[in-house]
């Protein structure tokens, strides 16, 4: 009998081309590389400089998402990029993909979207795979039981040229979450809570496996939200063992195995879980009952409180500086703080269930006076599905903007940017200083919390806005 192993070890072992030695890292095979316009041009240039070809264009999948406008084109098809350089970057990806025979979902594709939304929607993301992208939120794909992590541009070039990466085996961190989630507590609140517990560097050097009854009960989009933010505690990857929910999600997707291949694939995927008797290098246990709707109050994703809680007042340079930047008083409540912008989108929270959650709060309501609300679906497919359900009309009737798919105000490099000093309640993943614009103050939150805050114009506990209206406001 083989030694019991973790989900991570099983996937790692399957992909070792050359074992790690005392002097050299392992050579690890990469099943799928996702590409976007921002972190790939210099990698393609490097291949050209060396006279190398892309080894496996069939194992690459590209999209445009970061530098792309989320406003509709003019009647003549003209897109309004933030700068000529942004357009040039998108054009460069088109040229690179055409030149190397790589499938690119550009403006004319019905699947185009944020790379971490599109991959799973197409069924490109599958259990047991190794998946990389020049993007730290690649951990998203771990929701399917894949080993997925972000890499730098030099490594993007390595994978283009060799379909391999040099890797030193990371440690594993088990995060067990048990119990039922309370009202208005979503996967976003779970992961914010976890990051709050671990701290912004607490997962460094590790691959996380999330497990336990709470995780098992999550749908695939919730698991993606949770795995997506693994990097925010420093972990390069986060993963969930595949189960029936995974298989049901993937079945009949365009790039998923079909027919007899599907049956065989599922049989194999069922073996991808951590064996009884295998243990992680470190284990953190979370009680679902401790998790409330959560928000960030400071300038990194580890600065988390419950939405009805108080910001810290303890001394310390980091806390003081964060409070000063956020224009908050130590010990004060964050709920009630006036809001300028609400952003619902990003690779963390722009999928259909996220949009449904936001719409359930905004239906029949009006956005507060003077508040700008951007709702940005994660992909064309998500946009179509949302529009088929009438979610776009709910958002528009409430006074929100319904925009075209893209990363938008999460990274704020396409012109979707807040004004200096604005407070943004954002369903994205990073609240770093200046992330959403100069001096912009970001409060990370779930789609429910974001939508509730849009209605009141203040940071708001979503528990008073649940459908059907629950009379009792939980304090």
């Amino acid at each position: 009998m083989t030694r019991p192993s973790t989900l991570f070890e099983k996937i790692w072992q399957r992909h070792v081309v050359r074992q790690e030695t005392a002097d050299t890292p392992a050579i690890l095979y990469i099943d799928l590389q996702l590409l976007h316009e921002v972190t790939s041009p210099q990698a393609f240039d490097e291949l050209k400089r060396r006279g190398l070809q892309v080894r496996r264009p069939d194992r690459c999948l590209a999209t445009i998402d970061h530098s792309t406008p989320t406003t509709p084109p003019d009647a003549d098809g003209t897109r309004h990029y933030v700068t000529e350089q942004a357009k040039a970057q998108v054009d460069r990806l088109h040229a690179n993909c055409a030149g190397h025979g790589i499938e690119l979902h550009g403006w004319d594709s019905p699947h185009r979207g944020i790379v971490h939304v599109m991959g799973p929607e197409l069924g490109a993301t599958q259990p047991g795979m190794t998946i990389v992208c020049g993007d730290s939120h690649t951990a998203t794909h771990g929701a399917f039981g894949a080993l997925a992590f972000g890499i730098g541009t030099t490594e993007v070039g390595h994978v283009l040229a060799t379909q391999c990466l040099l890797q030193t085996k990371p440690k594993t961190l088990g995060i067990r979450i048990e119990g039922e989630l309370g009202p208005a507590v979503t996967a976003k609140d779970v992961i914010l809570h976890v990051i709050g517990v671990l701290g912004v560097g607490g997962g460094t050097g590790s691959v996380i496996e999330y497990f336990g009854s709470t995780v098992r009960a999550m749908d695939m989009e919730s698991r993606m939200t949770m795995c997506n933010m693994s990097i925010e505690c420093g972990a390069r990857a986060g993963m969930v063992a595949p189960d029936q929910a995974t298989f049901d999600y993937l079945q009949d997707r365009p790039l998923a195995p079909q027919g007899e291949d599907w049956t065989q694939a599922v049989e194999d995927w069922k073996t991808l879980s951590t064996d009884a008797g295998a243990s992680h290098d470190r284990l953190v246990e979370i009680d679902a009952a401790d998790i409330r709707p959560s928000v960030t109050w400071g300038t990194n994703p580890g600065m988390v409180i419950a939405v009805d809680g108080r910001v810290p007042d303890r001394d310390g340079a980091a806390t003081r500086e964060a409070l000063e930047y956020m224009q908050l008083r130590g010990g004060a409540r964050l709920a009630g703080e006036p809001v300028n912008v609400v952003f619902i989108g990003s690779c963390t929270n722009s999928r259909l269930t996220d949009l449904r959650a936001a719409a359930s709060v905004l239906e029949g309501q009006q956005v507060a006076n003077g508040i700008r609300v951007l709702v940005v679906p994660g992909s064309e497919a998500t946009r179509r599905a949302a529009e088929a359900e009438g979610l776009d009309r709910i958002f528009l009737a409430a006074g929100a903007e319904w925009r075209e798919p893209g990363c938008s105000m999460c990274i704020a490099m396409n012109g979707d940017i807040a004004r200096p000093g604005d407070l943004v309640v954002s369903t994205s993943n990073r609240n770093f200083k200046g992330r959403q614009g100069r001096a912009v103050r970001t409060v990370l939150a779930s789609p429910l919390t974001a939508a509730a805050s849009a209605i009141t114009g203040r940071v708001t506990d979503p528990r008073g806005f649940l459908e059907p209206r629950q009379g009792a406001m939980q304090a």
């Binding site: 081309v17 050359r18 002097d23 050299t24 890292p25 050579i27 095979y29 921002v38 972190t39 210099q42 240039d45 490097e46 400089r49 060396r50 080894r55 970061h66 530098s67 933030v82 700068t83 350089q85 942004a86 040039a88 970057q89 460069r92 020049g134 993007d135 730290s136 972000g150 890499i151 730098g152 541009t153 030099t154 490594e155 070039g157 390595h158 040229a161 060799t162 379909q163 391999c164 990466l165 040099l166 030193t168 990371p170 912004v200 560097g201 460094t204 050097g205 990097i231 420093g234 390069r236 990194n300 980091a318 704020a412 490099m413 990073r430 770093f432 200083k433 200046g434 992330r435 100069r438």
Partner: protein, 194 residues
């Protein structure tokens, strides 16, 4: 445009302090500068929001105003340096700005990997060492990649971790991509088994 600058293996320089924890890559180079398709010349965007006002004028309060690019090639920063985005533009801009090494008690994984591929040395030391350097600005240090040690004046010698392969590549200018390419046959054999 080499994958990494070859390095003599020794960095002798004075330090420059940024005593802030969790300096993320959005601080090192803000996303507005990521529409470039180049990797050179990014030093002018390094710590941009820390150095410049909204109107583009230099910030009088910026700690980086006192940085001497010629003599202070070693950045000393708080814990968890380089967290956040995977943008390799971060080490590219730090190098172009004039830094050759960063000293911190912890580095984010992707930043560390990106830095090493470009010849920017992550020197991970105990917090006590960082605190000493914070207390002694513009301090003379000598960092030896080969022996993985840093000599700190009036403090002594400290070790820092560096994978043997990274040290080998850094000191000899060996290229990691070439190393993988040398194992083409292994890759082909692996693919044949798929």
């Amino acid at each position: 445009m080499n994958e990494q600058n070859s390095n003599t293996g020794v960095i002798e320089s004075r330090t420059f302090n940024l005593p802030v924890d969790n300096i993320d890559t959005d601080q090192i180079i803000p996303a507005q500068f990521l529409t470039t398709t180049e990797r050179e010349g990014l030093g002018r965007f390094c710590f941009h929001a820390w150095r410049y006002n909204d109107d583009g004028t230099p910030k009088s309060s910026s700690p980086l105003r006192s940085h001497d690019r010629l003599t202070q090639q070693v950045l000393v920063a708080g814990s968890n340096f380089g967290c956040g985005s995977s943008r390799e533009h971060a080490p590219w801009s730090l190098l172009d700005y004039g830094f050759r090494a960063v000293v911190s008690s912890r580095f984010a994984d992707i930043f560390r990997s990106n830095a090493l591929k470009n010849g920017l040395l992550p020197v991970q030391v105990d917090e006590a060492v960082v605190d000493f350097l914070f207390d002694h600005p513009d301090h003379a240090v000598r960092i030896d990649i080969g022996s993985r040690t840093a000599d700190i004046q009036n403090y002594g010698q400290v070790d820092f971790p560096l994978e043997p392969f990274s040290a080998y590549c850094l000191t000899r200018g060996i290229d990691q991509l070439e190393f993988i390419l040398q194992h083409r046959n292994d890759i082909q054999a692996y693919e044949d088994r798929l």
